[in-house]
Amino acid sequence: MKTKNDRVVREGLPDLMPRLWRYGMVLTRNAEDAAELAQATAMRALERSGQFQPGTRLDRWCFAILGSIWKNELRSRSVRRGEGLVPVDEAGLSDTAPHVDVNISAREVLSRMMELPEAQRETMFLVYVEGYTYADAAERLAIPVGTVMSRLANGRRRVNEQMGSD
């Protein structure tokens, strides 16, 4: 079983790497840290491939690993360093990624969401971007469903307010 799991994990990881990086961006708001986090997640997933349950979702399994590495190993380092977010506008999306067809409201709402406190933006990301149900998100984050709901409500209100005030 170990060998088979190893193959499933190894074959699934390449397609998952961009999504792992993106989740890393949501948590770290820093491209380099996100890349490190994605790489460390891939490494850990391979090391622990024997624990992967065939028939369950590899992406969710890897997201849980990524969340755990961030929470337990990397977050404190990143916070100490005080890495910060450069808003989309200043990053010059159109210059660096001319191939990306993304309209202004998409850029704006993304930027606003990335400015939310970590707990709110991670919960919104899992539910609204990665399609977690409230119950799945609660399990993933080890919090009650009610907390998922209040994070979503607070996050949505703030994004909405900021969109409205521009």
Binding site: A91, A97, V100, N103, A153
Partner: protein, 251 residues
């Protein structure tokens, strides 16, 4: 019929189609019959299509990431973060590829430990910290003049008269054996804020907004000083005040 007022959480769950059927129907009824609920829905609305489009675009920004080729004899052995880093050049080569351009850019300047120290200190401030023993006007002005003189920056209460923040007092702290000025403010709600600065050689830099110790902050360099404005959780308000301070200090 349940007439308990709806919470925002229930409204959001309704919008996300995440309520049990009977509750979903109840909220739908309220939306149809109660204009105030419709208004609240408006305030909680987020353009989900735009959100998806933004995050889809981010995927295209991902750097080329290679799945590590784990030697067979290392599998199933837990590795700490340092273990991965210690792989050295191979890892470094992977990290170095294509990182940096994209929706969000990493800050490239050196970490400014003093801003972390300020944030850790500011977290301890409550409204009462500043209201329990308010300084008389003259003492407040003196504290400001002394602090400014110690750092070599001329400051008056006019300089600090930004809309929405009331100056409370100034004091000289120390970081790395060099003076660090702390000017304390309260906003209209009694939330404490601090404008801190110290001498830092180097060119002026654009303001950077970041969450430090759970507080909204903006840091910037101006005229040979590093500044941080920090407090509360409203980044936009802090950015707006930062702009006013920068304009006033610069003149």
């Amino acid at each position: 019929m349940d007439t308990t007022p709806l919470t925002d959480e229930q409204i959001v769950a309704f919008l996300d189609d995440a309520l049990p059927a009977d509750e979903q129907a109840r909220v739908a009824l309220a939306v149809a019959n109660d204009p105030s609920v419709a208004k609240r829905i408006e305030q909680l609305a987020v353009d989900r299509d735009a959100l998806s489009a933004g995050f889809d675009a981010m995927l295209a920004e991902a750097p080329p990431l290679v799945v590590p080729d784990l030697p067979a004899n290392e599998r199933s052995q837990p590795s700490g973060w340092g273990h991965w880093i210690s792989r050295g050049s191979a890892a470094a080569a992977i990290f170095a590829v294509g990182i940096g351009a994209g929706l969000f850019l990493a800050r490239t300047d050196a970490p400014e430990d003093w801003t972390i120290a300020v944030a850790d200190y500011q977290v301890l401030y409550a409204t009462e910290t500043l209201t329990t023993m308010p300084l008389p006007d003259a003492a407040r002005r003196t504290s400001l003049a002394r602090t400014g003189a110690a750092l070599g920056l001329e400051l008056t209460e006019d300089t600090l008269a930004v809309s929405g923040l009331a100056f409370q007092r100034a004091q000289i702290l120390s970081f790395d054996n060099a003076p660090l000025a702390q000017l304390a403010f309260l906003d209209g709600d009694g939330t404490p804020f601090a404008l801190c600065f110290r001498r830092i050689d180097g060119e002026d830099s654009a303001p950077v907004t970041e969450d430090l110790a759970g507080l909204a902050s903006v840091t910037w360099h101006q005229d040979g000083f590093g500044f941080i404005l920090i407090g509360g959780d409203d980044a936009q308000a802090v950015e707006s005040w930062q702009q006013q301070f920068a304009d006033r200090i610069g003149t």
